[in-house]
Amino acid sequence: MKLFEYQGKILFNNYGINTPKSVIVESLDNLEENLANISYPSMVKVQVLEGGRGKAGGIKGADSPLEAANLAKGMLGKAFKSSTVTALLVEEKVDLVEEYYLAITLDSESRMPVIIFSKSGGIDIEDIAMNNPEEIIKVLIDPLIGLKNFHLDNLAKKADIKDNEIKKQLAEIVRALYKLYVDYDAMLVEINPLMKLRDNTLIAADAKVEIDDSAVFRHADLLDWNIRMPLSQFERMAQQVNFLYIDINDNGNVGVISNGSGMLMSCIDWIARQGGQVSCALDLGGGATAERVAQGIKIINENPNVKTILISIFGGITRCNEIAEGIIKAYDEISPVPIVARLDGTNKEQGLELLLDANREGINIAYSLKDAADKVLKASE
């Protein structure tokens, strides 16, 4: 679960990390009154999860509440990139002298949290990581040790931060951010830029927070935000019934349904190898019932790009007879695009028997992944 900038900043403030003074605009009611709560000039920022907002015109300066209000009216509720703007963050402009980068995420080698810092923050941080990797400081935190003073000293030393006041502020921010990262089951907490202002204070000018989806359940405040998160139509449909839906390729025309992401990936690989393109994929997870299989097919079939559906199952905890019943049910209820079904594993025989007995014209049976990929391509022609 990715948080909006303003949500991340609410968490930052709760943990004592300073952000520019701001108001959140979620409706045009009392707009000018709301906007009068901060000083100007300020920045009006659309709240969407996509990156590159600035370049795409999603961040604009305003010299007065009136100007901010006009900007807000032109932004709120409008489309921005692939999202609809449901909120704006209007922040006082700050007087910066430097832009740092600070993030905490999981290091996949050591499986420890890693603090990433650079004195060269800002929008070009990825180029810097690529071309000047020595400007990126990494400090691993062994969870058995926890974040200690020596980590913070090492960070400041490696980053060559000499100003004691900045060192102290940075240490406090890293401590707070680490605590937030751990407390909130974060996958990523990122401040880019972490601005050094003319008055020698550090302030978080942006906030990227991503939470482990598996752990959202234990954070009541996130659960509340989660249900208001923007999703595509299909993602929303899938989420409502607890499936994982993924858009794969805008040019694809095959929808893939399977019972596990490994199999999904293999299906995508096979279709690509045979010369096809997958549009989207849906993971049923383990142990799906006939009813749920039918639901999954209905969601994928809603995607107008999908011309064929491949259902590839290798049943362990999932039973093939349930899959077959679900396919037939969906077929009879909504007459979807052609389906290629490939069933193996638990109760495979019953499943195949059900499909053969049903003998529906649009349901093709395949006997291996390659066979399935071939039949899908033929059906999509």
Partner: protein, 290 residues
């Protein structure tokens, strides 16, 4: 031989009174697994499929000398159940649950460094099976036959696919391990490679990896220096969208290219591992080395 489990392994089932726990206890018993105890707090004193149920792992161990545990508990209770088993002295813990919080597994992973004789398999694992001997998990055991191939897989479905193909062609398995596709599995390829290398029954090793993480790269490093048996690897996700989350949160391709299918294949190839193009291709390659 086989590794991790066999007929004599004294197995306990955490969450035995749940729907899945009960169902798969019956199937494990049917397969010949030595299920000696179940644990569900508050249900101590009852029986499931003739297996005595205890309130705690400690009590179950005291009464039945259980050495391995398989967890059929919901993801939000997995952390507590894992800690309980590890603290009580269980040496192999197999975790089935999908959706265990990453922070929980991070703690388990690092705790495991202090208990290096403990094997944590999963979460999000189909389990462990030594065909013809015993299983701890929910895999459809009918597709497995006893034989010389040790298999480890991050994906359940791809491992079934591969095993099924092997069995069809008469190639059996020594032990098959579902590593699980999570960001932080309790144990990965490298932890099991030394066991397969030493196991007399195992003549060849199959690794089924996927994009994300660096476990395949670590395995390559280990294989280069320590493994004499032939190793065959299949890496899923070559055509998966970059940066998209594939359910297995592990399947995130990092920006730098580390964790990509290309990287993994290059590292494994350099270590002398043969790369299969598909589950079916794994079997073709196996035929040449057995």
């Amino acid at each position: 031989m086989s590794i991790l489990i066999d007929k004599s392994t004294r197995l306990l089932v955490q969450g035995i009174t749940g729907r899945e726990g009960h169902f798969h206890t019956a199937r494990m018993l049917e397969y010949g697994s030595n299920v000696v105890a179940g644990v569900t707090p508050g249900k101590g004193g009852t029986q499931i499929e003739g297996v005595p149920v205890f309130d705690s792992v400690e009590e179950a161990i005291k009464e039945t000398k259980a050495k391995a545990a398989v967890l059929f508990v919901p993801p939000k209770f997995t952390y507590g159940a894992l800690l309980e088993s590890m603290a009580a002295g269980i040496k192999l813990v197999v975790t089935i649950a999908e959706g265990v919080p990453i922070k929980d597994m991070r703690q388990i992973f690092h705790l495991n460094r202090a208990m290096d004789d403990v094997f944590v398999v999963g979460p999000n694992s189909f389990g462990v099976i030594s065909p013809g001997k015993a299983k701890a998990g929910f895999m459809d055991h009918n597709i497995y036959i006893e034989g010389p191939v040790g298999l480890m897989s991050r994906s359940a479905t791809n491992s079934y696919e591969t095993v099924n193909e092997m069995t069809k062609q008469g190639i059996g398995q020594s032990t098959c391990i579902g590593i699980g596709g999570d960001v932080i599995p309790g144990s990965s390829f490298s932890k099991f490679l030394p066991l397969f290398e030493q196991d007399e029954q195992t003549k060849a090793i199959v690794m089924i990896g996927e994009i994300g993480g660096v476990d395949e790269e670590f395995a390559a490093e280990y294989i280069k220096n320590n493994v004499s048996k032939p190793v065959i690897a299949y890496i899923a996700g070559r055509n998966a969208p970059k940066g998209k989350k594939m359910g297995h949160a592990g399947a995130i391709i990092s920006a730098s290219g580390a964790g990509s299918a290309q990287n993994k294949i290059a590292a494994l190839s350099a270590a002398g591992v043969q790369i299969a193009e598909s589950p079916a291709h794994v079997v073709e390659l196996l035929k040449k080395v057995l």
